[in-house]
């Protein structure tokens, strides 16, 4: 399953959380190509081929995993930017966050997020969640983009 395209864009600022998420993703054997953005600005730069990624050829990822509390540009702002642009409007975005607050959930859905997942504290559950997530969005779910 070696693709030159990017399959998942993972936006996460916390290094420890990042490591755990990557570990879980790798364990599920579903994904090889992951791009990591450490904050909202970097994520947007990458997606829209601007700033430090100006050289990059524009390619749509199959899934964006988005944390909400990010430095520079906040998760919800990133989501809004993604949804506001014609090119990226249809990319599946899954919010992956610690928060279970109503205002975060409602806010995300109002910006047309595809799914909202609270990261479980228990690592076994976390692993299972990531595996189910990957399986669903990358294998089971049909994207509007031909691949």
């Amino acid at each position: 399953m070696a693709h030159s395209e990017v399959e998942i864009v993972l936006v996460e600022d916390n290094s420890a959380d990042l490591e755990l998420t990557l570990y879980a993703l790798r364990q599920s054997h579903l994904v090889n190509n992951i791009h990591i953005a450490r904050d909202g600005a970097e994520a947007l730069d990458f997606l829209f081929c601007q700033g430090q990624y100006a050289e990059r050829a524009f390619l749509l990822p199959r899934l964006i995993l988005l944390d909400l509390k990010l430095p520079k540009v906040d998760g919800l702002e990133v989501l809004q930017a993604i949804r506001n642009d014609e090119r990226t409007k249809l990319i599946p975005v899954v919010v992956l966050t610690s928060s279970k607050e109503q205002k975060d959930i409602v806010g995300s859905y109002q910006l047309h997020v595809n799914s909202y997942i609270q990261k479980p504290v228990d690592f076994d559950q976390f692993r299972q969640t990531i595996q189910q997530l990957g399986l669903y969005w990358l294998v089971v779910n049909q994207t509007p983009f031909s691949s």
């Binding site: 755990l20 610690s98 928060s99 607050e101 479980p120 504290v121 690592f123 076994d124």
Partner: protein
């Protein structure tokens, strides 16, 4: 300030009183004077008539002695001059008519009335006439008796004149009194009317700034007006004080409300931060411990693995605590929205959701009929979830678990209960049951964070109800609660009847 002088009751009353008093006084006085005068008149009439009788007697004695009635009658004829004389008769000493004068030439003679013994003369008023009879003596011997009869026209005329004069006097005086009255009543009725007017203005408009105008003279009216004005002063003062106290209270309430809202907002922010920031490190503790076990487990001995497990347990427990605390906080801040709620389907729905927990458990359920109550369905659901979870949890060690849910009438209140026959607790520690993080069992025996019952109590108290528990160690526990203050009890019973 307007006032009207109408023919109001007080003014009219004063005038009538004056007229009545004056008229009575006048009439009494006039009557007294008239009576006196008439009495005097009668006496003088008698005297005049008596004198006339003596004159006639003296003139006619010789005629009597010489037995000459004609000459007696011609001297009698002079009486024509007195229009009031009806007749005059001379009688012989034997009492026989001798001569007479009769007004109008109608001879009407009659018997001689007797003079009482010892008296020379007598008179009578009868039949609208005055009769005077006198014995005339000549040289010490009775010579004749003279009878004079007069009508009372003098008296009558006098009476008529009196009536006319009295009438005019009374009318004139009453007119004068009436005029004086309208001056006098100014000093009494006017101030009263003004006072009454002012009072009715104050009462109608609730305007406490008006004052009654003062009276010139210093009398009871002036005192009344002064007191009235002083009362208004006090009322105005109190009214103003009340208004300002009210305004101050409003300000204070607003201030408190603002402070409360601020405190609540701070709490919200705090909860959000806790929910987000505490979970990440916990996840990491658990995650990396897990990775250690997975990837390096073969390098570690049993003891190391045990330690790692303990680390994971600690993290997981803390995560649970954080969730429970946040939940409790959210419920505490939540607004209560009461609705008439049928508790039976609500209970069934809770049991349905609990199916996973009940997997592989042998439990006998005794569910009684539950009422429909005014309560918040979401929060009451939490109550049942907690109480039933506890019941299920603490009957785990019993072979045949029995859980009952129902309602009991408790002194007119609707009391709901959840009873189990599980581990129970020592009633001695019952007061600790509902404390946050307080547990009456060791975590080894029965897991739990000790927040469930605290949350339940919070919800019950929000509804204005009470919750208490009774238990015996190893024989089970029963939790009783109400969802309303007694005041609403009647309402809920009415709803019960309506629901059936």
């Amino acid at each position: 300030m307007r006032f009207r002088i109408q023919n109001h009751s007080i003014a009219a009353e004063l005038t009538w009183m004056n007229l009545l008093v004056s008229a009575s006084a006048l009439l009494l006085a006039c009557a007294a004077f008239a009576a006196y005068d008439l009495i005097m008149l009668r006496e003088s009439m008698v005297r005049v008539l008596s004198i006339q009788a003596q004159i006639i007697g003296a003139n006619s004695v010789s005629a009597m002695l010489f037995n000459d009635p004609h000459s007696a009658e011609s001297s009698l004829a002079a009486l024509k001059a007195g229009p009031n004389i009806i007749k005059a008769e001379i009688y012989t000493p034997d009492g026989l008519p001798f001569a007479g004068y009769f007004r109008g030439h109608r001879r009407k003679t009659g018997p001689l009335p007797k003079i009482p013994a010892g008296q020379t003369e007598a008179h009578w008023f009868k039949n609208k006439e005055l009769i005077v009879v006198r014995r005339i003596n000549f040289q010490g011997k009775p010579a004749e008796t003279v009878l004079m009869e007069s009508d009372l026209r003098q008296i009558n005329n006098r009476l008529k004149r009196y009536a006319a004069v009295v009438f005019f006097i009374v009318v004139a005086c009453l007119a004068a009194v009436f005029l004086m009255s309208s001056f006098m009543r100014r000093s009494i009725a006017e101030p009263l009317l003004r006072l009454a007017d002012t009072a009715s203005i104050v009462s109608r408009d609730k305007d406490y700034s008006v004052r009654a105008s003062q009276v010139d003279r210093y009398n009871e009216l002036a005192i009344l007006v002064k007191s009235f004005n002083e009362m208004l002063d006090q009322i105005q003062e109190r009214d103003a004080a009340l208004k300002s106290a009210h305004a101050e209270l409003e300000l204070r309430v607003q201030e408190r409300t603002r402070q409360l809202a601020g405190a609540n907002k701070e709490l919200e922010a705090f909860s959000y931060s806790v929910s987000h920031d505490l979970r990440a490190p916990l996840r990491q503790i658990d995650g990396f411990s897990n990775i250690l076990v997975n990837d390096y487990g073969r390098h570690l001995d049993a003891e190391a693995l045990r330690y790692l497990n303990l680390i994971r347990n600690g993290a997981r427990k803390m995560g649970q605590l954080v969730d429970d605390l946040l939940n409790m906080g959210r419920i505490g801040r939540q607004e209560l929205t009461r609705r008439p709620t049928d508790l039976n389907p609500l209970l069934q729905s809770v049991l349905q959701d609990m199916q996973p927990e009940l997997e592989g458990r042998q439990i006998e359920w005794r569910i009684g009929a539950l009422p429909t109550l005014e309560c918040d369905p979401g929060l009451v659901r939490v109550v049942f979830v907690n109480l039933l979870s506890n019941a299920v949890k603490y009957t785990r060690r019993k072979e045949s678990a029995l859980i009952e849910v129902g309602q009991a009438a408790h002194g007119g209140e609707v009391v709901l209960f959840v009873r189990d026959n599980g581990a129970g607790f020592d009633q001695k520690y019952a007061h600790k049951l509902f404390g946050v993080f307080q547990r009456l069992h060791r975590a080894d025996d029965f897991e739990g964070t000790g927040v469930g019952l605290a949350t339940v109590q919070r919800i019950i108290h929000k509804h204005g109800g009470r919750i208490w528990a009774e238990a015996r160690v190893n024989e089970g526990a029963a939790f009783f609660f109400t969802l309303e203050t007694v005041r609403h009890g009647a309402q809920s019973r009415a709803l019960d009847e309506a629901a059936v």
